[in-house]
Assembly symmetry: C2
Homo-oligomer: 200 residues x 2
Amino acid sequence: MAEPASSVPFVAATPSRSSRTEAAILEATRELLSESGVRHLTVEKVAARSGVAKTTIYRRWRSKEDLALAVLIDFVQSIVAVPRGDGVRSELVALLRGAVNSLGTTVMGRVMQGLVSELATNEDLSRAFRERVVALRVGEVRKIVQRGIERGELRPDTDVDLLHELLFGPVYYRLFLSGGALDRKLPAKIVDAVLPGFSV
Amino acid sequence: MAEPASSVPFVAATPSRSSRTEAAILEATRELLSESGVRHLTVEKVAARSGVAKTTIYRRWRSKEDLALAVLIDFVQSIVAVPRGDGVRSELVALLRGAVNSLGTTVMGRVMQGLVSELATNEDLSRAFRERVVALRVGEVRKIVQRGIERGELRPDTDVDLLHELLFGPVYYRLFLSGGALDRKLPAKIVDAVLPGFSV
DNA sequence: CCAAAACGCTACGTACTGTTGCGTTCGGCC
DNA sequence: GGCCGAACGCAACAGTACGTAGCGTTTTGG
């Protein structure tokens, strides 16, 4: 039953205490965030669920918002570049599908719901989110648009920022306000509705 | 100096104590919400600023979220129907401009920022917002679309809900996440980009 | 093996919540 | 003018969570 703590490094080395602690805190925070949002997230609950002392949490993060942002950043690592497809439409659909999927089928959706007020209000969190998430997505859209212009699919004066907002805005609007479902058909519906306005 | 409390009802009758109390609470809540968001809104601060006893506030609203929603609903009363214009474009721009203006130039924007997490998480608040705000706007879009179809401007199978999300989603996306400005040019930019996808 | 870092634990002072009981004031009505 | 109920103010309270401090214990890394 007991782990041998073998001195032979095999597949993975035993994680350090520090990283185990951090992982436990983030996991507990993820769970609590997805259960009841930031409003009811308390450091004491995180400490209780993760089995970590409260003081240890405060040694790493100043506030529960910092902690929640760490969870978010942890997620965003999974944002990957969109593979080159056979056209602007399919590439944009693929990009949007990545966001819709992670927001709709993982706890990231609930984390975002609980965190959005803090993201909108807190200047530090706002900047961090823009730099680490928004900028990445705008960059992806820019690449796709660039290729689309070269292929003659899109107008050369295409407003990348506007296109990006038109694509992702409705997704978050559903998540936050309208309550619409983030289903698999949504990405294609949005792209098909938006694209004519930018096509040659 | 003293108010005469004239028995002659002139322009407006002297408001009752009850309505004065309610107005003072809502005004203080508005101020505090716009200053630091729901996160830092406390009933005790509202009581202190409004000059009303804490117990009086709890007699009217169960929680600070209920209170914040009351402020929001108070605002939404100002949403007016869009006057018939000379085409789908101008009518949609007018509708969108109303939202952009109130979100960008009044405290409603900050109130929304502070409240959105609770709106997304709390089932009661979510439903109230959908029924009292989202439904109104969808209804307005529906009227405009209906007239547009009759005039032959829009396709008969126009998806009203999708169009509504494409119009308002980017606005809230700016307000909450991307941090873009809610300027006067935004409504027209959005409408011009979206409309081709629904035109005949 | 040993110093430094990281962690666990207890105990605080502070702030806010949501409620209770009771005295006071206001508003309408006879 | 006087009365009565509703609404409000006020003080006090238990409960929860925050964020910090001190100190002993475990882990890490050289």
